[in-house]
Structure formats: C-alpha cells, structure tokens
C-alpha cells in the first residue's frame, strides 16, 4: 500500500513541467557513487496482509487487558475511560503540528492551557509547562535547572528514587553542568540524617520521590529545611494520582515538581509514549524548559491562547538555551487533561483511595499467609514483600494467569490499582503462598 496519490501520467507531466524526462533527473545533484540500487527490504504489503502481520505480532504478547497485573515500578495499570480513547482519536488533534499558528490552533492551545492549570491544581505549584518526554527526563531537566539557577553543581538524591531515573540523571550529567550524588536510603526511605549532613552551600538541589520507588511515603521536612536554609532548591518527583489524597509537593516546600504522568489516562504501551509533567514556582517561570501556553487577547480583544516565553527555547536561544527540548508529548498531555476531566475530583480521590484500600487488603492477606513486608513505612498503592525467589514466584504466577510484581533482590514490589479485585488479590496470595511453602 502506497500513499502517493499521483498517477504515473501526472508524474510524467509534472516532470515535463520541470524540463525533465525521468524521475532520476531529480537527483542529478547527488554524486553517482552515493546512489544505491534499491533497498534490501521486503516488498510492500496490502492492508489485508499488513493487518495479519500486525495481529500476529500483537498476538505474541500477553496483555494486561487479559491478565491481572501487579506490576508498577513507574508504570501503572489504571483504568482508561472509553470517552478518552474516542476523543484522543480525533485526527484534528493527533495529526496537527505544534500550535505555532495561534489563529488556527486555539483548540490545542486551550487544551494545553487547561492541562497546565490542572497540573498546577494537583501539585499546588504556580506554573507548569506543556510536557516533557517522561518522568525520568523531566527529573533530569529539573536537576539541571536547579544547578543552573543556583550556579552550583551538586545534586543530592537518595537511592529510593526509581533506579532508571537515577540512571537517566547520571546520563544527563555527562553535560558537566551537574554532579549527581546518590545517598543510600535506610529502611526503604531516604536517610534523612545522612542527607541533611551532606547539605551545604555547594548543593544545588535535593531530589525526593513521593511515593518513592518502593511505594513508600517519604517525610522530607528536615531535608527541605536544610536545603532551603542553604539556598538550594527542593525538587520533588511525585505520582500524580497520589496527589489527590496526599500532601501536595507545594506544601512539602517543593521549588520544582516533576513526575511521570502516565497514570493519568495513558496506556502502558510497553513503556511509552508517556509524559513527564514539569511544574515550578513562579520565580523559575522564565527558566523552565519546554513549551508554555499563555493567555492573551487578539486584535479585537477576544481571549486567545498562544505559545509564550519562546525566547527561552532552542529555536530562538539556540546554543544558549537551557534545554534542547522541542517536540514533547502533547497528545499524552491531552490524554491527561481529558482523563482528569472525565474522572473529576471525586473520581480521582476514589481511584486513589481504592488503590490504597486494595493494597492494604493485599498486605493483610499476605501477612496472614506468612509473608512479611520488606519495609515498615506508610505506603500508597505499592509495597515490597520479602521473598527468597522472586523470579520463581513470578514464573508460578504467570502459569496461573497472573502478571506478578517487580523483582527485587530479595523481594517483590507489588502494585495495586482500582482495576484489581478481591478475587485477583486472593489468587495472587494463594499462588504466592503455595510457592513459598513448596
């Protein structure tokens, strides 16, 4: 199947209009020795054939649509309302480019403005950008912003942050603009004493993930106080669903808030596309990376929205730009906007509370079956249990039609969303229990 509409005779006419006889005449500027004689790729497929091939590939995967999933660790199996999928499929949205021309892009600009406002209200922060690639890269950009705006290099981060986020932070530090110092945690949360001991005037920023990688809630009061009294920035990497019921990052004292926005209406998609959200205090507005939509008026005084503060960005500031981000995850941010509107404030709270209740139920059942929690900190919708052979346990779960948890060295991280049921949890516990007593 090809998508070039011109029939051969028209192509010929067009070539003639240019004084050419063959299509090769369009490539006389490429040296002959650089031309290839065709690609070594399969021939094209009709749509009927392609559909079969795609179905074959999709069919070779085991989907969380069909199997209950207790994996979390940064990507969560929350429910996506049908209306969201329908709206996101409107091609005016998904086939549009970045809204650089406001007169014909008000719909997209307004949806981004709504997204910014929603994330402000969720996090308690003043300003939000139009999205970043994902939670990990948003965190790396936040760390870089902390370094550049304080003119310091050191970023302190506990190892209770998602290990892949730590890796991304380290990769981004190749720029030389920041130095990542990882501080070992204690009992599944950040080691406050060790962190505070390292905070001084050389520290640009401190990062805390809430809830952290192990699902545990961090209590960063003393850390925040220490970093602020040394004029560094406090960066919080937070789960968006949890904020419906837990203290906002703003109230914890965050200067920059980032996080993985996937739980807000984005499919698991084998890891992407997701979106990173990025929020800050108004003080940092003119330095934050990425696109921002602002409200203004048109010539007739009508309310209008427009991409603003573009002088921060790479297409204007070029090598002086603080970030190189251009394309972002706009459609995923639109999904988040539609999601939050569809579930509403009560729905979001209910989703958060239900996820927590199911986790608490699972903890009780697991403890009754003889399992122990790995950590004792309060958690949201995910916790770690001790387990000698997590790989074996997962294999067993899979044989019983369950996608198990994230394997830790001597345990397993189990996540619970509102989609899980008592029945599924009972089965999880039964299979895990059987495994343990074998």
């Amino acid at each position: 199947m090809k998508y070039t509409p011109n029939p051969p005779a028209v192509v010929e006419d067009m070539l003639h209009s240019l004084g050419l006889n063959t299509i090769d005449g369009l490539y006389t500027d490429i040296p002959e020795e650089l031309k290839i004689n065709g690609l070594n790729l399969p021939s094209g497929l009709s749509e009927i054939e392609l559909r079969k091939e795609i179905k074959r590939l999709a069919g070779e995967n085991l989907s969380t649509e069909d199997y209950p999933c207790f994996l979390g660790a940064g990507a969560y199996d929350h429910y996506i309302p049908a209306a969201l999928t329908e709206l996101l499929g409107r091609s005016e949205f998904y086939t549009a480019y970045t809204p650089y021309q406001p007169e014909i892009s008000q719909g997209i600009l307004q949806s981004i403005f709504e997204y910014q406002t929603l994330i402000c209200r969720l996090t308690g922060m003043d300003v939000v950008n139009a999205s970043m690639y994902d939670g990990a890269s948003a965190l790396a950009e936040a760390a870089k912003l902390a370094a550049l705006s304080t003119k310091r290099e050191k970023i302190l981060v506990p190892d209770t942050v998602h290990p892949e986020y730590l890796q991304v932070l380290k990769t981004y530090s190749l720029s030389g603009a920041m130095e990542i110092v990882v501080v070992p945690g204690k009992n599944g949360v950040a080691d406050t004493e060790a962190m505070v001991a390292q905070i001084d005037k050389s520290v640009a920023g401190v990062i805390i993930q809430q809830p952290n990688f192990y699902g545990n809630l961090e209590a960063p009061e003393e850390i925040v106080q220490a970093v602020h009294s040394n004029k560094g920035l406090f960066v919080m990497c937070a789960d968006p669903i949890s904020m419906a019921i837990f203290k906002t990052p703003a109230k914890w004292g965050a200067d920059i808030v980032v996080g993985e926005g996937q739980p807000l209406g984005n499919s698991l998609n084998f890891g992407g596309p997701y979106l990173g959200f990025f929020a800050s205090t108004s003080k940092l507005l003119r330095r934050i990376p990425g696109r921002i939509v602002g409200q203004t008026a048109d010539e007739d005084g009508k309310r209008a929205f427009v991409l603003t503060l573009q002088a921060r960005e790479q297409h204007i500031r070029r090598e002086k730009a603080l970030s190189n981000i251009c394309s972002n995850q706009a459609l995923c941010a639109l999904a988040a906007t539609i999601y939050l509107t569809l579930v509403g404030p009560e729905g979001l709270k209910e989703i958060a509370v239900r996820s927590h209740q199911l986790a608490v139920y699972a903890q009780n059942q697991l403890e009754k079956a003889g399992f122990a929690l790995k950590y004792q900190a309060p958690y949201f919708r995910e916790f770690a249990i001790k387990l000698d052979d997590p790989a074996g346990a997962n294999k067993r779960l899979l044989e019983n039609g369950i996608i198990g948890g994230y394997e830790l060295e001597d345990g397993m991280l189990l996540a619970f969303t509102e989609k899980r049921t008592k029945e599924e949890i009972d089965k999880l516990v039964a299979v895990l229990g059987g495994e343990k007593h074998e």
Binding site: P31, L34, P273, D298, N324, E350
Partner: protein, 482 residues
C-alpha cells in the same frame, strides 16, 4: 473561543464511578499519619461525560491537522498519517503491555522493535540503531553524547567544540550545548551549501564533530559531502546526520554511504507517525559499528530465536529515558515500512522531491527564490520583494494563507534567508492540491500589490485574529484563576 473546562464546572455533575468495593473500606487516615495527607481541597472541575465530550470535540474543531488540509510546513514533513498505523498501535496486545513484563510475554513487541531497528539501519546505511530517544532533539542529545563518550574512551579530551552550519535547526546548537560543547558556526557559501574553506579552517583537533542536515535546511543537497566527511574525519572528528530531511533521499542515497557516523531520525516526520499537536515523536539514533557499544541501554538483541534486552554494555552512555522509548510510535513506523516496502519507500522520496520542485518552479515568477535550482523535498522562498514593494511581510503572507484554507509554511527559517517561507509539500499530496496551493500564493502576491492592507490584516476567516504576543510574554498568564 470556547469556555474553559473550569468555566463549565457544575458541582455534582460528574457521575464517574468505580465498581462496588469488596475489600474492607479502610479510612486513608487509618494507615497514614496526617502529615502525609492533602490539606487543601482538590480543585478540579466537575463536568458530566457528555459535556466533557462536547468540550473536547469543540476544541478539536479549533485545531488544524493534516487530515484537515494541506500542511506545507518546511522541515516538519507533514505527510499523511495512515489510518492502519493508528489501528495497529491501538491493539490491546500492544497498549496493554507493562514495560517490566517478562520478555517471554512480549516477544511480539520485541520482534517488532528489532525488525524496525534493522529496517532503519538498512535505510540509513548504519550498523546499529536505538529506538529509545523520544523525539528528534532527544536523539540529537543521544547522538552528541555518543560522540562525547567515543572521544572520552579514546582519551581525546581536548575536543570541546561541535560545529554546526549557520543554516542549522535550533536544536543542533542547543543539543551540542546541553551535552557540554561549545558551538562553532560554519558559514554557508553563495550557493547555500557548507562553505568548505570555512569548514576546513574551523575543523581541528579541538572539534568533536560536525552536525549536518543533508539535504540542508534550504532543501539543497550538500554536493561536496564526501569532501566534508574527509575534512571532518581527517581531523579526528565525527560526522553527525540530522535526519530531519531524510524524506528527500530515502531509498536513493544513504547517510552511511555519504560518510556519516551517527544519524538521528524523526519517525514523526519521515516515517509517517502523527505529530500529535506537538508530540509524541520518536528519535531513533543509528551509528556505525565502531560506535555501537556507546548506544543507550538496553539494546534489543536476538539470541537464537528469542529477543532479549541487553543491559550488559559497559561502554554505553547509559539510559536516556525510562524503559525503551516511545514504543507506541515505533509500531506505526513498523506498519508504514511494511506497507511501503523497498520500492514504496524510494517512491515516497521521489514524489516528495518532485512535488517540491513543481511548486518552486511555478512560484518563481511571483516570489523571490534565493536558490532557484533543483531542490530536494523542500525549498525556501522569500517575501523580500513584497516587503520592499508593498510592506507585506512573510508573516502577512503566512497569515493570509489561512484564509485560503492552508496551514502556513515554516516562516523566518532558516535564519540566513530574509523573510523566509520554507515550503515542504511531502509526497502524499496530489498535483491538484499543489495547484490550488500555488494559485493561493499567486493570488496573495497579487493582493500584496493591489490591496496590501487585506494581506497585512489577515487572517480574516479564523475564529480569532492575530494575537498580542507581547503582552503574553511581558505579563505571563499561564493558568486559569477563578
């Protein structure tokens, strides 16, 4: 202009519900100390489902996508986004995959990734490919980090500079800078190509690499690319291919054969995946074999008949993103490549180049074309004459095009052409479409002479007129306040 969701808030109208709870309904405060709990009201709007659907449908009517009309946005390759690709990416066998599922349960997804990598290697002439970068700029950063890691590995630490042409995309210097390089600009010559003498002068043992788009942002093929590669390589530098314009040469010529060491692609340009109103894109990076070890982890490899993620790569630059990239976007590219096949890919490029030259040729009597010769998939026109004669600028022409039902071309880029209008039609447009677009631009040129005010005050048919960007930037309002 529509009301915002916050202005449509009716308490109690949202009827979203969960199934009945069949586990004990513990109070959140029972397990969680108060200091962790949200203190303030969760101030989100409440809308019924039907009003939500109407709201976003209404917003969609105020957006303009490729499906709405011709989108000749230079450097952005706004080609048709085939619907079968959307179908493919929406299958539960893909959307429902958790990234940490055991590899045995995701073999279909991994086969798709592996085969996409292989096909992209063949098209670019590269030996290894990573699908992890989320967008073009992210790919650039990954590519430049690879350059840095390579030189560091060779203990060649005095290389602190990256060269970019003065016609480069803004992301090139920005990407080089965020990886810690000083940016040096090389001039374009009077034919719009890299000034070889200037490059020779600036290329030395302090330069880590040269980032080049070929064809360049003027839509011109860098004819001396072999010489350029030799100059860069002889001085120990690496040659980087910005794949933004690959749509011009797919199946005809390969960056790998031209002497490029690193390539980034934009699946959302060349490989037909939609732009989503700004993203998600996908920016795979391909390299020659000698750089393969530096690519981000994990790499999808095939062992016997099984696909696995290889994390054991000590020279890797590390991770640049969580998980494995924008997999959902990669599915669409896979479907596209399989649809077109070898011959279709080549034909796509050929038609893209034909369409661009067709428009250029028809417009040259009406607009100044600074480099009026065979172009590739795009060309740059200028409203220079209109400005001089009637004070009608490129911005005015762009805005007036909206009244004719078109998305404007890229304007004021590249920076080296005054009043630039960068036009990229892509291969998926018919001659009839191109003709009506040409007619519109010719008509606007006539209007610029006869009734310039009409053009200067455009657009006239859109829901809003030109906006006050100055106030937006001086006194930013970036969220709604009741």
């Amino acid at each position: 202009m529509s009301k915002l969701i916050f202005e449509k808030d009716i308490k109690g109208s949202n009827k979203f519900s969960l199934p009945p709870c069949d586990v004990p309904q513990v109070e959140i405060s029972q397990h969680i100390p108060e200091k962790y709990l949200r203190q303030e009201e969760l101030n989100l709007p409440e809308l019924s489902e039907i009003e939500t659907v109407r709201h976003f449908t209404e917003l969609s009517h105020q957006a303009y996508g490729v499906d709405d009309g011709f989108y000749p946005l230079g450097s952005c390759t706004m080609k048709y986004n085939p619907k079968i690709n959307e179908w493919a990416a929406s299958l539960p066998g893909f959307t429902g995959l958790h990234p940490y599922q055991p590899v045995d349960t995701v073999q279909g997804a991994m086969e798709l990734m592996y085969n996409t990598q292989e096909m992209l290697c063949e098209i670019t002439g590269m030996d290894a490919m990573t699908l992890q970068p989320a967008a073009g700029a992210h790919g650039e950063m990954t590519g430049v980090m690879t350059i840095k890691a390579y030189h560091q590995r060779n203990k060649d630490v005095k290389r602190t500079k990256i060269i970019v042409p003065d016609s480069a995309h803004g992301t090139n210097p920005a990407s080089a800078h965020v990886v810690g390089y000083e940016v040096v600009e090389v001039k374009s010559d009077d034919r719009g190509l890299v000034d070889i003498d200037d490059l020779r002068e600036k290329m030395n043992d302090e330069v880590a690499g040269f980032m080049l788009t070929n064809p360049n942002t003027l839509g011109l093929f860098e004819e001396h690319i072999k010489d350029i590669a030799a100059i860069v390589h002889n001085a120990g530098g690496l040659l980087y291919y910005d794949g933004a314009n690959l749509n011009a040469v797919m199946g005809v010529s390969r960056p790998g054969d031209m002497g490029f060491d690193i390539v980034h692609l934009n699946l959302h340009k060349t490989f037909s995946t939609p732009h989503g109103g700004g993203g998600p894109g996908s920016g795979p990076v391909g390299v020659k074999a000698f750089l393969a070890d530096f690519l981000p982890i994990p790499v999808v490899v095939k062992e016997a008949d099984k696909y696995i993620f290889d994390y054991d790569r000590p020279l890797s630059i590390g991770k640049i993103k969580e998980f494995y990239g924008n997999f959902g976007v990669v599915i669409k590219t896979y479907a596209y490549l399989r649809s077109l096949g070898a011959e279709g890919i080549r034909e796509a490029s050929q038609n893209a180049v034909l369409n661009a030259n067709y428009i250029r040729n028809k417009l040259k009597d009406y607009y100044y074309i600074p480099f009026d010769r065979l172009c590739k998939h795009e060309f740059v026109a200028s409203s220079r004459n209109q400005v001089k004669e009637n004070g009608v600028t490129t911005l005015d022409v762009a805005k007036r095009l909206m009244d004719f039902g078109y998305h404007p071309p890229t304007v004021y880029f590249p920076l080296i052409v005054e009043e630039a209008l960068m036009i990229e039609p892509t291969e998926t447009e018919s001659k009839e479409r191109l003709d009506t677009f040409i007619d519109a631009l010719v008509e606007i040129a006539r209007e610029a002479k006869e009734k310039p005010e009409l053009v200067k005050s455009a657009p006239h048919t859109t829901i809003i007129k030109r906006v006050d960007e100055v106030t937006a930037a001086r006194k930013p309002v970036v969220k709604w306040e009741d």
